[in-house]
């Protein structure tokens, strides 16, 4: 045994280099240099070879012959492309040898200006990545897609998330509660703690991810966790983050008219007993301070007007001034607060290393009484049992609880349904704060309207959607170095999640008059075990080989139990024991298994030419016919890939301005299986009739000759750098074709069934990604540096074919219909539009004079007419996306900001549609600028003064078949619902979703350790002011164009439906080491 010690310095300026990785080649023994660049390493090998590597420097290997001390000089990397990238299966490779593009985010970009959902953090930072957040506020789900929509199954377009080489679960489980109980409980990857992440690497295309086989079609996001490997001795790091959230944008409400109808309102019982007091719309009196009886006016018995059920009666209401409360909705929201504190202890010696981390996240949302508490524990430890045998384990325990997550969707359980559509402009929000009627606490809520709505405070404080989740993600890896160049590795990972959700509804809730209680238990398990043989061999000075051979078994289990007490006996007791009627329940469990063998080989010539080929074969249980079913089984499928990388600048002499040029090309074929149990047509239990059970057949027809989906892709790219890398351009073009997609082809229900499972489709997808890096200022002597990074991407997906006889397939529907049509783009949205005058002689709306062609046709009653054939209204995908970030550092100061721009794409706004019907939005002043015209004997407003009616712009067809300008006057209220013809014309509510956001800003100062002095126990103090989503520029009215809607666990892009407002957040981040 010998011990070698020494120091590592930079060849450039001679400064000591801390943190350099030192490894005894052919063993698992390694260490890192300390703060003074010193190391010490023990090995039993005779004539060992030590390898030194450090980011930004060329790696070096030194053969030791009887030395015990060694001083090493590392040369700064000229290309910066000795950079190491973590690729599929967690295998680290030099970026310059890769034939595909990857992009990386480091820890500082995740933890300083943070999002609760890790996935949301990707927005704007990675070219080609689109992030859509759910409409649910804190800790909600986020949907990420890379390089566009490839599959006809809208839920199958998300990438795979991998931690330390092994996949984790990223499901959105059962977000849809039945019976008006939709809430979002987060997506799997959103629970990963950013403080424990070293880097996130995005493997964008199938070439990069082909080794993951059937789950690779949409790219892979590889998360590498922090470890103690780079620590020296025992160290402690602390990160503390405090941010505040405010509503980013609320609709522009009108403030001239209050609740009521036709200018009239007076409260008696909020249920039609007074003057228009059952009406929940804002077509009431002018908000001019006139005295009107209201729900919060005092009564002769000392109650409030809305105390309708108090014993003995509330008495007579004394009218109070009818005034606008322009900020009443804004006042409802609170300042959200997020505290996130992390402390991590690391240790390292030549035998092993560890990192133990604890993070506490404590968050309250902008919606009162919504919160999130998350405690994350992580232990990442490795130990060299012998020089050749290493064991490493990484275990995270995440405890996530929420007392209440906001309810979603268009309906009474969602406060935004109330606020954006139906809330009186005259309501003082403070009057609703005390939300029980006196003496009826727990039994009867107090509200301004008893016909349709719940008091919003009652809603958020009493009707809660709680969550209590435990999750363990853990792996253990054993690796044995067989020879200098060959290693065998066995590892197993488990991701287990157990979650309880409890939804309480109090007595007197509109939809749950006797309250209700629902308890769901969701358990998911994913287990992966693999065995790998890894070779890294320098064959001769020209050739080196990096190869892998392995096998994997993946197992998924899912168990869901839902028990529902639809009514309660005793108010306020939320237990299944308290059900007033028999409880309802359902259970669903499923299991799947995939077995795989795979291999890859990368041959590199002179470190500038690399060819990599991979192959993987999967066998999937979900494509296996169950016992007793006859069909043609095809559960085995093979995925090959090949990629080539050439560093041209090392091969031929280029002009001196070009410091680096690499070309790359890749081809891959990957595929996909389907969900379990597609080969059965069962009968499912329906709600029993009392004690009589009843069943119904599944409406989906199975297909007993289902084949796996196949997606073939190519990508070509170049990485070009100028002027000593101060200008870099990376361009990738990719294309892919997905065939044999497994879809549920809809059938006319006259067949008895709703869909048939089938292989169909051919989707062509192509696009370009550009990354531009610019360093306008780099003055190492002054410690000044300015970097600018631009990410640009543009993607187009086209439907080439579906299946015989089918030219249209509906992917999703929420007010607009998202359809795949042959020859059209993926993401196209369809809906009805206005009828227009036609230039086509066969049209009943043909205008031979041509004068009115294109004008909206108005019917005799003054409303626009509907074109009965649904038309394409646009595409929800952007034309292009760009992220622009800038980073300036000067000595210890740094300033970073990130702008995120989305160009094009359309969004439908349900807030806009219903907010106009309800007279809420500013647009609804149109037609009542000068008030209402109340003359029942003049229903067509013939003698009405201007500004008290509206005339729809368009033409009417006259009796002689000609057209004439429409002059028919209609009331403001009629117009603002006729503009969508009662929600049947979508055209007027589609908007260009282009926006720019100031996504992130970070301003920080790192106190130089010199200032602290050598004896200071505290080092590397950094203090940053941070902000996210501070500003939004867009032409979309009222809403954040990033909004989506959610339906049954699917986030539907392109359709906004009364979303909880998104937030702007700002705060402070402090980090230091001990």
């Amino acid at each position: 045994q010998s011990t070698i010690s020494g120091s590592v310095k930079s060849q450039g300026n001679g400064e000591a280099l801390p943190g350099v990785t030192v490894v005894v080649k052919g063993t698992t023994v390694g260490t890192t240099t300390d703060g003074d660049g010193r190391f010490s390493i023990t090995t039993s090998r005779a004539n060992p070879v030590l390898s030194f590597s450090f980011i930004g420097f060329e790696p070096q290997e030194i053969a030791i012959e009887n030395q015990s001390t060694l001083d090493v000089l590392l040369a700064p990397s000229t290309t910066q492309l000795s950079e190491i990238v973590v690729t599929a299966l967690g295998i680290a490779k030099q970026e310059r040898t890769l034939g595909y593009v990857t992009q990386k985010i480091d820890n500082a970009n995740l933890t300083t200006a943070r999002e609760t959902n890790l996935v949301s953090q990707l927005a704007g930072k990675i070219a080609g990545v689109t992030v859509v957040n759910s409409p649910s506020g804190i800790g909600g789900s986020a949907r990420v897609t890379i390089r566009g929509e490839r599959s006809l199954n809208i839920n199958a377009n998300q990438p795979l998330f991998v931690i330390d080489g092994m996949p984790i679960n990223n499901n959105v489980v059962g977000a849809s509660g039945r019976n008006n109980q939709e809430a979002d409980y987060g997506n799997g990857a959103g629970f990963v703690n950013p403080d424990d992440i070293e880097t996130m690497t995005v493997l964008k295309g199938p070439s990069a991810s082909a080794l993951y086989g059937s789950r690779a079609a949409n790219g892979v996001i590889v998360i590498t966790t922090k470890s103690g490997k780079n620590a020296k001795g025992i160290g402690v790091s602390v990160n503390s983050n405090t941010t505040f959230d405010q509503v980013l944008r609320l609709p522009d409400y009108q403030n001239r008219y209050g609740q009521g109808l036709n200018g009239e309102f007076a409260f008696v019982n909020g249920s039609g007993g007074g003057l228009r007091d059952g009406v929940d719309e804002n077509w009431g009196p002018l908000l001019d301070g006139r005295l009107i009886a209201q729900f919060d006016s005092p009564t002769s018995n000392g109650f409030r007007g809305g105390d309708t059920r108090v014993a003995g009666g509330a008495g007579t209401i004394t009218p109070t001034p009818f005034n606008a409360y322009p900020n009443n909705i804004r006042d409802f929201f609170e300042v959200g607060r997020t505290l996130s504190n992390n402390v991590a202890v690391t240790g390292n010696n030549d035998k092993g290393d560890f990192r133990l981390s604890y993070t506490n996240l404590n968050q309250t949302g902008i919606v009162p009484n919504t919160d999130l508490q998350r405690n994350s524990f992580n232990l990442n430890a490795g130990y060299n049992l012998t020089e050749r045998l290493n064991v490493r384990s990484n275990v995270s325990y995440i405890k996530n609880t929420s007392g209440n997550r906001p309810s979603l969707s268009y309906g009474t359980e969602n406060i935004m349904y109330l606020f954006n559509c139906w809330f009186g402009r005259q309501i003082d929000m403070a009057s609703l704060r005390n939300y029980w009627q006196p003496g009826l606490e727990g039994i009867q809520q107090f509200n301004y309207n008893y016909n349709y709505h719940d008091n919003p405070y009652f809603n958020v404080y009493e009707n809660t959607n709680a969550q209590d989740m435990d999750r363990i993600i853990g792996n253990i890896t054993l690796s044995y170095q067989l020879t200098d160049w060959l290693k065998v590795q066995a590892r197993s990972q488990m991701d287990f999640q157990s979650e309880i959700r409890e939804r309480q509804r109090a007595f007197s809730t509109q939809r749950f008059p006797f309250g209700s209680f629902r308890r769901e238990n969701v358990n998911t398990l994913e287990r992966n075990t693999d065995l790998l043989l890894l070779a890294d061999k320098t064959i001769n000075p020209d050739f080196s080989l990096n190869a892998t051979l392995g096998g994997n078994q993946r197992s998924n289990k899912y168990d869901y139990i839902d028990v529902f007490a639809p009514q309660l006996t005793v108010p306020g007791v939320y237990s299944l024991n308290n059900s007033r009627v028999p409880v309802e329940y359902s259970q669903n469990k499923s299991e799947r298994r995939v077995n795989s063998i795979f291999g890859s080989a990368q041959l590199t010539y002179r470190n500038y030419l690399s060819l990599e080929v991979t192959g993987r074969n999967d066998w999937s249980s979900t494509l296996t016919l169950p016992n007793g079913v006859v069909g043609s089984a095809d559960n085995s499928y093979f995925y090959p890939s090949a990629s080539l990388s050439a560093v041209i600048s090392d091969i031929i002499k280029l002009p001196s301005a070009i410091s680096f040029l690499k070309l790359r090309a890749g081809w891959a074929q990957v595929g996909n299986d389907t969900d379990p149990y597609q080969f059965s047509q069962p009968f499912s239990p329906l709600t029993p009739w009392g004690t009589t059970p009843t069943f119904g057949e599944s409406t989906r027809i199975p297909n007993f000759s289902l084949k796996p989906e196949i997606s073939t892709s190519q990508e070509f790219g170049l990485d070009l750098r100028f002027f000593q890398n101060r200008l870099g351009l990376d361009v990738t073009y990719y294309r892919s074709n997905s065939r044999n997609q497994i879809i549920f082809l809809p059938l006319t229900n006259t067949t008895g069934y709703s869909s048939i499972v089938t292989n169909a489709g051919s989707i062509f997808n192509n696009g370009v990604e550009v990354m531009l890096n610019l360093t306008p200022i780099r003055r190492d002597d002054l410690g000044l540096r300015w970097d600018v990074n631009v990410n640009f991407s543009s993607n187009r997906s086209k439907v080439l074919e579906l299946t015989d006889g089918i030219s249209t397939y509906q992917l999703a529907s929420r007010y607009v219909s998202v359809e795949a049509r042959v020859g059209e783009r993926m993401g196209d949205m369809y809906g009805n539009i206005y009828q227009r005058v036609s230039a086509d002689p066969t049209s009943p709306y043909y205008d031979p004079t041509g004068r009115y062609v294109g004008q909206v046709v108005v019917s005799g009653n003054g409303r626009p007419e509907r074109d009965p054939t649904p038309q394409k209204l646009g595409n929800y995908n952007p034309d292009w996306l760009a992220g622009i970030s800038s980073s300036v550092s000067y000595k210890g100061f740094n300033l970073n900001f990130l702008f995120d721009h989305r160009q094009g794409g359309k969004i439908y706004s349900h807030t806009y549609v219903v907010g106009r019907e309800g007279g809420q939005l500013i647009e609804t002043l149109e037609g009542r600028e000068n008030g209402y015209y109340n003359n029942p004997s003049d229903p067509t407003f013939l003698n009405a003064p201007a500004g008290t009616y509206y005339v729809v712009p368009g033409v009417v067809k006259t009796s002689d078949g000609q057209f004439a300008e429409n002059t028919r006057r209609i009331s403001a209220r009629e117009w603002h619902s006729a503009f969508t013809l009662g929600r049947s014309v979508i055209e007027g509510a589609m908007f260009d979703a282009t926006f720019t956001k100031l996504r992130e800003i970070r301003m920080g100062y790192t106190v130089p350790n010199k200032v602290l002095g050598p004896k200071s126990p505290v080092r590397n103090i950094n203090l940053s002011l941070v902000g996210r989503n501070l500003f939004l520029w867009t032409k979309v009215p009222h809403i954040d164009p990033e909004s989506s809607s959610m339906s049954g666990g699917t986030i539907i892009p392109g359709s906004e439906s009364v979303a909880i407002p998104s937030t702007r957040s700002y705060g402070v981040n402090l980090s230091f080491n001990l």
Binding site: N627, S680, F683, G690, P693, G696
Partner: protein, 472 residues
């Protein structure tokens, strides 16, 4: 590499096979729910039992797609096909379940064709055998088939066959299913009586009551009594009060009941809130088809208009009384309706019998159903005393009253007979025509385009004013 995969991919959650008794309850319940739901939102409005004071589109005949009956029908035809097949494959064959399947199948398809006209039927429910674009049969073909099926059902059903379980309608009484089959035959024969000579068929049923039993009292009729608690309550019991109160007593109904001094108004509606508060409870309706503003301000507003009767909506979501459960039922076919059919048939000479007696039994049965005593002077009023000269109008009007909130049956009758005489809604948006049809679902145009277009070619434009075959 795929060891145990067959086992892993076998669904453990639900069965792949069931017995007929497990299918039957939902077949009955969903039909009844659909009758109540569409009856409430459209049936009562178009036939002017009720009228709207807010969100008045339906009342102004601005009807979009009304797909409930379509979807419920085809969903249940699937279950009925399954039930019939399972019963046929049993050893011994379960003839009662076969018979029930044919009765319910005929009831469903008749309901749907009366709403839409031509429909997929002979090629429907064959998705599993690859028929994905079923052709539309003419209404005449559909009626021929369903009448034959009902006759077959009458032959299959017998108390001496296997015991019937899961029967939430008749509690396993095969004779009552038999009576329903024959009573429905009379209903549907009358429905097509303008197009076909149904005299012999109707008379044949009546001439042999042993072979062809029909309803003999209210106790026989096909009415689903809902359970007092969720989730099997009368559907409107769970609506929000605001949604319920958009619907008020129609002035057409008010005028008619008041003219006859008919106490059934106390069941159909409640005294206005204002009049009750003033200690002088009175009933008041609102004309159908007013524009939104006029509807809300009519007669001084909602306080002065009668809400729906207490049996159909329990304030405060309370528990219905037994009397209320007996009124708010899922009415497949009532005994009173049968009596009015017989009265009309006798009056028209389609059957032999005493038209007046049938008419009076129908009125009496309706009063009995609502737990009311028929006032002794009711049928002696000049307008109501049976008069052969205006008998068809008298029968039609009484039938219309007796069919209050019973789905769409009153609308079908009005389309056939023109009774009672109705005026289109005041500010209607349908050129002064009362709609006579539902339009086909939009999905048919994307999923079964050629078939639906062939039907339209034959039947007439797909709009709410195209008459179906039996009405032409």
């Amino acid at each position: 590499c795929d060891k145990d995969f067959e086992q892993i991919n076998t669904n453990p959650n639900v069965p792949n096979a069931v017995t007929p008794n497990l299918l039957l309850p939902n077949i009955i319940r969903s039909g009844a729910n659909e009758l109540v739901g569409t009856g409430w939102s459209i049936g009562n409005i178009v036939i002017q039992h009720t009228a709207k004071i807010q969100f008045v589109n339906e009342d102004r005949y601005l009807w979009g797609n009304i797909n409930g009956i379509w979807n419920t029908t085809y969903g249940n035809l699937r279950e009925l096909e399954n039930m019939y097949t399972i019963a046929s494959n049993s050893v011994p064959v379960q003839r009662n379940y076969q018979g029930i399947a044919l009765v319910m199948k005929s009831w469903y398809i008749a309901l749907a064709t009366d709403c839409y006209g031509d429909l997929p039927y002979s090629e429907a429910i064959l998705g599993k055998t690859g028929v994905t674009s079923p052709k539309y049969d003419t209404q005449e073909e559909i009626y021929n088939k369903l009448l034959a099926d009902l006759e077959t059902a009458n032959g299959l059903l017998s108390p001496s066959n296997e015991a019937i379980q899961g029967d939430i309608l008749f509690n396993g009484n095969a004779l009552r299913w038999k009576k329903m089959a024959n009573s429905l035959r009379l209903r549907y024969l009358m429905r097509i009586s303008k197009k076909k000579d149904v005299k012999a068929a109707m008379q044949a049923i009546l001439s042999n009551p042993t072979a062809n039993p029909i309803f003999e009292s209210n106790a026989d009729q096909a009415a689903l009594k809902y359970l007092p608690t969720v989730p099997n309550q009368f559907p409107t019991y769970t609506y929000r009060v605001g949604s319920i109160d958009e619907f008020r007593l129609s002035k057409t109904m008010e005028d008619r009941l008041k003219a006859y001094n008919d106490p059934r108004i106390t069941v159909f509606a409640r005294p206005t809130v204002a009049s009750a508060a003033a200690g002088n409870p009175t009933y008041a309706g609102i004309p159908n088809g007013l524009d939104d503003v006029s509807a809300l301000v009519y007669n001084g507003g909602a306080q002065n208009l009668s809400r729906i009767g207490t049996a159909y909506y329990i304030d405060g979501f309370g528990t219905p009384s037994d009397r209320e459960l007996g009124i708010a039922q899922g009415m497949f076919m009532s005994y009173a309706e049968l009596q009015f059919i017989l009265a009309e048939a006798a009056q028209k000479g389609l059957i032999t019998g005493d038209a007046k007696a049938y008419y009076e039994k129908g009125v009496k049965a309706s009063f009995d159903y609502y737990g009311l005593t028929l006032p002794s002077n009711y049928l002696t009023q000049p307008a109501l005393a049976y008069d052969p000269a205006k008998a068809l109008e008298q029968i039609g009007t009484q039938k219309w009253i007796a069919l209050f909130f019973s789905g769409l049956e009153a609308w079908f009758d009005w389309r056939r007979t023109g009774y009672p005489a109705l005026q289109p809604g005041v500010s209607n948006l349908n050129n002064n025509r009362i709609p006579v049809r539902f339009i086909y679902p939009t999905s048919e145009y994307s999923l079964n385009k050629a078939s639906v277009e062939a039907a339209i070619q034959r039947q007439g434009p797909d709009n709410i004013n195209t008459k179906v075959w039996w009405e032409k």
